[in-house]
Each structure stands twice: as C-alpha cells, then as structure tokens.
C-alpha cells in the first residue's frame, strides 16, 4: 500500500479549493440527471424489477380475460359460432328489406373478399343476425331483448327488391343504447355490408360492357344513440380502462418506490446518503423520476402485450372496433398513463419514506391499493363528469378524465385542471417524502423523532420553503370545496347578506389561515416571509393607480369572453347580479376587498417569497401568475374558464408590481381597489355589463400607463 500525502488540499477539502466552483443551476440539472441515472441503473439491474416487469402481464391477463368474458356475455357472443346481433323492427316490410339488404351486402362483401385475400374475416367469429318485429321496439331495446332498433320509414318503396324499376334512396335510422358494445358491433357489421353493396352497385353501373340498367338502392344511415337508463345492463370497456391503468402503474411503481426509500435504510446506505450535503428534495425528485420511469415502462410493456393478445386472439377485431385506436387516442392513453404514474409514484414514495424496512413499507401499501380501487369503481358510475369540484378530487379526477376520453372526448380545459391539480398533489407528496426521508425517526428507529416532523426550526426563517407554500395550495383546494359545501348547507339559515360575509370569512381562512399556520410551524419571519417590507410611496401610489384604471379593460375582456359562452353563463351571471344588486354596496365592497387582500397575502406574499429564493424573478412571477389563474378557474365555479385569462394576466401584473416594489402592500392596494371597482362599477356607473364605453377604456389606459410608470420608478432605493 502506498501512502501519499497531499497536505495542501487534504486539509481544505474540495469545497474551498479552486477545483470546485459554486455549482450553478445548470450543474444542478446535470447532477439531477446523474442522480436519476444512478437510481435507474441500480433499479433496472435488480432482478426483482425485471420480474415485476414480466410478472405483471401474467397477473393481469387472468383479470383481463374475466373482463373480456363480461364483455362477451354483454354482447352475447358465443365463442363457437361468433356473436349474434339482434335487430328489432316495427313492421315486417322493414324487416324484410333489411334482411334482403344484408344478404346482398354479404354477397358483395364476399365477392370483394375473394379478390382481396388480405381482408378475409376470421371465420370463427362470423356473427349471426337475429331479428324480430315488436309492437314497441324501443321498449324491447331497453329490456335488452335486442341490440338495435332499425327504422326504415320508406321501406315499402323498395319492396320487393327484385322488382325495383328506378334508383331508390332510403333513410335508415339505427337506435341503440349509448355505449352498448353489442350495438356498436352490430352497427359496424351492418355498415360494412352496406358499404360493400354500395360500392359494388357503383362498380357495376360504371362497367363499360354493362348494357342492362340495374336500379340501385342507396341507403343513408343515421345513428341515434340514446342515453342509457341506469346503465346497469353492462360494464363498458371504457370504464375498465382506468382500472387497468391504475393496476398497471401501481404494480410498476410499488417495487422501485420501496426499494429506493425503505431499501436504503435496510441496506445501510441511508445514513451515508443523508450525511452528504445534498438537498433531500433533489434526492427525492431523482427517486421520483426513477419510479415514474419504471412505472411507465411497466405499463407500456403491458399495453403492448395486451394489444398483442387482443390482436392475435381475434377478440381485438370485435372489441376494439368501436374504440378506434387512432394515433391521437394512443397519445392520450400514454398521457393518462403518465398522469397515473405521476400521481401514484409520488404518493407511494411519500408512504414508503416513512417505512424503516421492506416489510413495513409493504404494510403501508395495502391500504393504499384498496383505497385506489375506490375511485376506480366510482369512476364506473354513470353521470359523473370531470367538472367543478370533481376535477380536483385526487385520483378520481384522473379516472373520470380517462373515462371521458374514451367516451368521445373530454373538455380540454377541465383536462388541464385535472393535470395541474394532480401535479400539485404530486409535488406536495414529494415534498412530504423529502421531509420524512432520512428524518431522525426513520433513520434511527426512534419514537421521539416523529415529533421532528412538526417541530419548528430553531432559527427564524426568512421565507417559507417552496414545499410548505405549495402544501398550502394543495390544502386550499379540498378546504375550499368543504367550506363551499358547508356554506350551501348553512345558507337557508341566513339572509342574503350573510352569504357575502361567509364567503369573505372562507377566503380569510383559506388564504390567510393556512399560510399563517404554515408560517408558524416553519418559524417564518412575518415581515420577510409575507413581503411586508414598507414600499416607497411612489410604488403604492402606482399600485393604486393601476387598481383604479385596469378594471374597464378587464370588464371588457370578461364581457367578450362571456359573450362566447352565451346564454348559459348569462343565467348564472344574472342570478349573481340580482343578489349583488340587493346587497348593500358597503358590504359588497368589504367582501371583495377582503378577498383580494388575503389572496395577495398568499400569492404575492407567502408563495412569492418562498419561490423567489429558489428561482429568478421572471420565473417566480410566471409561476405565481399561472397558479393564481389556475386557482381562480378551479374555484370560479360556472365562471371558471372565463377567469383563466383575466386572472392570469392580473397575476402577471401583480407579480411584476411585487417584484419591482419589493413589497406586498402595493399589490394589496392594487388588487383591492381593482376588485371593488370591477364588481361595483356596472352598478355605480350604470353600465350594461355587455360593453364598456371607449371613454372608460381610454381613461383606463392612461391611468394604467401612469401607474406602471410610478411602480417602475418606485423601486426601493437600497437595491
């Protein structure tokens, strides 16, 4: 063994030597990437990961085959003789014409097929047609005696078919229960035959040698899906999709989540890991990315195997016909998968971070698995849609979004809310995990250590941590809907004015109460943590000028946006305005003022200060503005979407004022005066609310310009 000495650097360490410059933020990204690479290479070399990757499909396919059987039962498929499609008619003529058309269609299809060998249908699943005449076909449909009601009002014109003398065009209407797999299969079957018949007729007509005139029968098809009553007849494939995705991502994420947290402790690497000067949040984020990656990988392997199974078993042809796998749908499916993985990986990590061993971690996970199946099953209930409060219920919102996507598309804006709120929850869960991971209690098996999680720091802090500030936001969403629900319950007890008092009180609880609690537990200094530094007079005056002059423009923007959604919104608006007309203007002003002030305390106060310590100003302004807009959408109820643009824009203005003035006060002045005027102006100045006059707009523009100048030059002197 050779012993070298290098006293010069040895006693100093790299940190103080010229070798190691302070890491820049780019280095931080690079380091994060390397952390992820290490975790990934370790986890992917583990035999157990590979087993999960392969074992999963084996576990899943029995389940899937049960689902298929459900499905086959629902569509009355006899695997031996293929499915039977049941059609119901009101008259015999209609039945006869339909049968004749199907016969000709079948013949045309076969004539075509003998030429194009590639398209030959699987003989094993060749469907049968059953048909019947009913007094009340619609009732038979609802009783599940038939799959489709066929109505051909002018059927007599084409009867008998052989004696047709001229071309006839018939309207044919198919009525079926929306989402019924049997009906969708039947329709695809019928439409395929009709199309074959049409094209063969056309071909014959165009044949140059053909001299005899053959009258053609043209059928115009119209689908008429009717909403299902109760929908207890069958489980649709669409409702199963989210459950399958949940299972796939959970199973994929469980092992890496345990291994990367509880596993560290079990192998004795946790202590040396937390003895290194790396922020826990960075460590946990790298672990998170790794878990998401493995979960997505597992799910992808599964999707591919599932797809292969469907294709080669021949079931796919029947099952997936009505799903119609377009590239867009595949992309959406992948997006959903990512979303589920993003959610579960974060939740799993925060749970397993508490665990001190594999066994303990597994014990924590069982309740989670059971709890996750709840939303999966609730998601099958008809009538729920991703909207309003449901769009921010963790997990359930993703399940509903998945279902909506497969049942003909979801509202992209609500989808955005689902994605954003899920990301907020995931971020909160990771922040929690970072707090727990390597905490005394976990590291050294010690009971007193748990108190550490809520113990206040010994030193006062300049600002909250971003995770504490984000936790406030994550708690605000459920708290808001709980308070709103409470308010609705209590409403009959109070007069109209009390509604405003209640809503102001709720705002105080949400935007002041939560951050204040958080600031107390984080021992955050009030002055710096909320940005209470005193601003220059010029900045406050500028804030006031902006607050007094921006409202005509926002009002105009709102009127414009409202116009787009028209009557639906006008009704809501009218109801609100009636209420507002009745209330005293002082009360209204106080309500809107308080609301505005406490919103500022959180967004431009607590959140801004927390983020600003970790990111450049422009990024802080952007993030707070987006979150501000997002919150207004979610909390805005029926007006939600109309508020996204105005609120986000206001968020940018307010963020800029906060940054420029170095204080939250000008923002409060701005927001309060703006909110009061925006809500009272139509009444005070007797405006219609539909259109803002050019005079007001011009005055607003001038005022805004003056205000911006004042804020711009109102920068604190010491900076």
């Amino acid at each position: 063994m050779t012993l070298e000495t290098n006293n010069l650097e040895g006693s100093q360490g790299f940190r103080d030597s010229p070798l190691a410059p302070r890491p820049s933020s780019l280095d931080a990204v690079g380091r994060l990437a390397r952390l992820v690479r290490k975790e990934l290479s370790e986890i992917l070399r583990d035999r157990r990961t590979i087993i999960t990757l392969v074992l999963m499909p084996l576990l899943l396919y029995p389940l899937l085959s049960i689902a298929f059987q459900q499905f086959l039962l629902a569509s009355k498929v006899d695997p031996e003789s293929g499915p039977a499609y049941r059609f119901g008619f009101a008259t015999e003529v209609e039945e006869a014409v339909f049968a004749e058309m199907m016969k000709l269609g079948e013949r045309a299809l076969h004539a075509g097929k003998t030429r194009e060998k590639s398209q030959v249908e699987d003989e094993r699943v060749r469907p049968r047609i059953e048909s019947g005449v009913f007094d009340n076909p619609d009732a038979a449909l609802k009783d599940n005696q038939i799959d489709v009601v066929v109505r051909i009002p002018d059927a007599w014109m084409a009867w008998p078919l052989e004696q047709l003398e001229r071309d006839v065009a018939l309207d044919c209407e198919f009525r079926y229960l929306k989402g019924s797999p049997g009906a969708l299969g039947a329709l695809a079957f019928v439409e395929q035959r009709l199309a074959a018949k049409h094209s063969s007729d056309l071909e014959k007509r165009l044949r140059p040698k053909e001299r005899r005139f053959r009258p053609a029968l043209l059928v115009r098809v119209q689908r008429d899906p009717i909403e299902q009553p109760g929908a207890d007849g069958f489980i649709s494939l669409h409702a199963l999709v989210p459950l399958i995705l949940i299972l796939m991502t959970i199973t994929g994420a469980v092992y890496p989540a345990i291994d990367l947290t509880a596993g560290e402790r079990e192998r004795g690497t946790l202590e040396i890991l937390v003895a290194a000067p790396v922020p826990r949040l960075g460590l946990l984020f790298a672990k998170y990315v790794t878990v998401v990656t493995v979960a997505v990988l597992t799910a992808l392997v599964n999707l591919v195997t599932m797809w292969l199974t469907l294709t080669f078993s021949g079931l796919g042809a029947t099952l997936l016909k009505d799903v119609g796998f377009s590239p867009l749908l595949l992309l959406q499916l992948f997006g959903l998968l990512l979303l589920f993985a993003a959610f579960f990986s974060a939740v799993l990590l925060s749970l397993t971070s508490f665990a001190r061993s594999f066994k303990e971690a597994q014990a924590y996970l069982i309740p989670l698995m059971l709890a996750s199946l709840g939303p999966g099953v609730i998601g099958m209930l008809p009538g729920l849609r991703v909207e309003g409060p449901l769009a921010v219920v963790p997990l359930l919102n993703i399940v509903l979004l998945a279902r909506d996507l497969f049942q003909g598309g979801a509202d992209p804006l609500w989808a955005l809310v689902v994605v954003l709120s899920t990301l907020v929850y995931a971020a909160a869960a990771i922040a929690l995990a970072a707090r727990v991971f390597g905490a005394e209690g976990v590291l050294y098996n010690d009971q007193s250590g748990w108190a550490d999680l809520i113990r206040r720091p010994s030193q006062p802090q300049e600002a909250a941590t971003p995770s504490a500030a984000l936790w406030c936001l994550a708690l605000m969403l459920p708290a808001h809907f709980t308070l709103q629900w409470l308010g609705l319950q209590l409403r009959p007890l109070f007069d109209a004015d009390a509604v405003f008092v209640i809503s102001a009180a709720a705002a105080v609880v949400l935007f002041l109460g939560l951050p204040a609690l958080s600031a107390f537990f984080g021992r955050v200094r009030w002055s710096s943590g909320f940005g209470f530094a005193s601003p220059r007079f010029l900045a406050s005056a500028g804030g006031l000028a902006l607050g007094l002059s921006l409202w005509p423009w926002v009002l105009q923007l709102l009127a414009h946006l409202h116009a787009e959604r028209g009557a639906e919104l006008r009704e809501h608006l009218a109801a609100f305005l009636v209420q507002a007309q009745l209330a005293s203007p002082v009360l209204l002003a106080a309500t809107f003022g308080i609301q505005a002030a406490v919103e500022e305390l959180y967004f431009r106060g607590y959140l801004f200060a927390a983020l600003r310590r970790h990111m450049p100003a422009w990024m802080t302004i952007t993030v707070t503005a987006l979150l501000f807009g997002f919150l207004h959408v979610v909390m805005g109820g029926a007006f939600g979407w109309e508020r996204l643009l105005p609120s986000t824009l206001m968020g940018f203005v307010l963020g800029w004022v906060r940054w420029r003035s170095g204080s939250v006060w000008p923002c409060i002045v701005l927001h309060v005066s703006h909110n009061v005027l925006l809500n009272l102006a139509p009444r005070l100045f007797e405006m219609s609310g539909d259109e803002v006059s050019a005079g007001w707009l011009a005055a607003g523009a001038v005022g805004a310009a003056v205000g911006s100048m004042a804020v711009f030059f109102g920068k604190p002197r010491n900076e």
Binding site: L3, G10, S11, F14, K38, E42, T269, A275, V278, S458
Partner: protein, 252 residues
Amino acid sequence: MIEVERLTKCFLLLGGRTLTAVNELSFTVRAGEVYGLLGPNGAGKTTTLRMLLGLLKPTSGQASIAGFGSSNHPDEVKRRVGLVSAGSGLYQGLTAREMLLFFADLYAVPPSAAFQELNRLSRLLGLDDFLEQRCATLSTGQRQRVNLARALIHRPPVMLLDEPTLGLDVLARQVVTEYIDHLRQEGKAVILTTHHLEEAERHCTRFGLLHKGQLVSEGTLADLQARTGCTTLMEMFLKLSKVGPALHEVNT
C-alpha cells in the same frame, strides 16, 4: 476544527421514560489530531458523532466543525466530514467505481477531480482488482475498503470513524490501521470511536473516556497516566468508570 460544547441528547423511550444518551459533553479536536472517543457499548459514542454531523438534533448544547454549527449549517458541516461506520452499506446494484463516483457527485466534486481522486484512493486502498465488480459480490474486507475510499472521495478535512474495525479480521484491520495513519499524515482532524482499547492506544493522540454519556476523563496517554496512576487504557477505564466484576457473584 471540531468543537463540541455541552452537547446533550435525550431519547424518549416507550412508556414515557427518557434516556440521556449524551450528557453535557464538551471537547475539541484540532487538525492533525486523532481523538479517541472511548467507552463501552451504549456509552453514547455513536450518538455523539451523529449529532456532530447534524443527523440527530441535540436536545441542548452545540457542535461545530470549522466554525459551522451542525444544526444551523448542516450542509457546510457535511461537506467537510467523511463518515465511516460499521453499519454503512453499499449500493448492491452499482459497481465499486460507480458507487465511488456517485458519492463524489453527491459532494459536488467536479468529474475530472473525482476521477483523479478515485485513482489515488484505488491505489492507496488496493481497489483495482474489484473496481468494476458489483458491490453485491464483494467480500466483507473488500466492502470495508470501498467504504473507506467512499468516505475520502471528497477530501474532507474531518473524519469520523465509528468502530471502523467492527467485525473485521486481522488483515482487514491492518488496512484500517494504515488508513488512520494516512489520515493523520494528511493532517485531518479525526475522531475514532472504539471499545478496542489497544487499537485506540496505537492510533490516538488524545483520548476522551465516555461513560453513560459523560466524559469521565480526557487528555493524552501521559496526562491520563499521571492523573490516574494506571499504565494502560484498560486499567484506567476500569478504574474511572468504577466497573466492578461483570458477573455478580451468586452465593449457593
């Protein structure tokens, strides 16, 4: 370099009892010194080191390294410390080289410097043969060597060695012995905890005798000999901690 001032740690036990694992402990260690923190099992040695590193919060008192308090500036402290303890494990899925480079990265050592340091440590500790082997396949002795290298990869001026020879055979112990000599030559401030008194006698420049969380006596071997009249640490230890025969006599 290392300063410990009235450091105290109480653990809350099940049933509401509290246990004072470390009691008003004070000592300092300068660069170039190897300080032996000696005491029987349960004396509070490990707890002291954990508080020094900021992994445990002291109930009262403070510890600092190079002027940085371990509760206020944990990252500045961690950056300057290398930790070797009997319980440290390795990442089973990584090779020895990957493991070392990963830790270099954690300590933000620039890649080129990490590479150099890896080569130096590899020569120093004889890792060349198994550098590319997965840690899961290493022998106990080889693991210990990787661990010793891992603690030095960021060239910390302070080393905390918590029973580094626990469970090692004679050969592997020899490696640790030379390792400690090397640390002293490099002028690092070292704390070595052990209940192996001969080992401590060989390495340490100064000693602190810890018993039930309290520092019973402190000084160089000569100081201690003069003060107690005993010649070996073993005798001193028995005398100072007033330990009687381990097994009580039972009259039959």
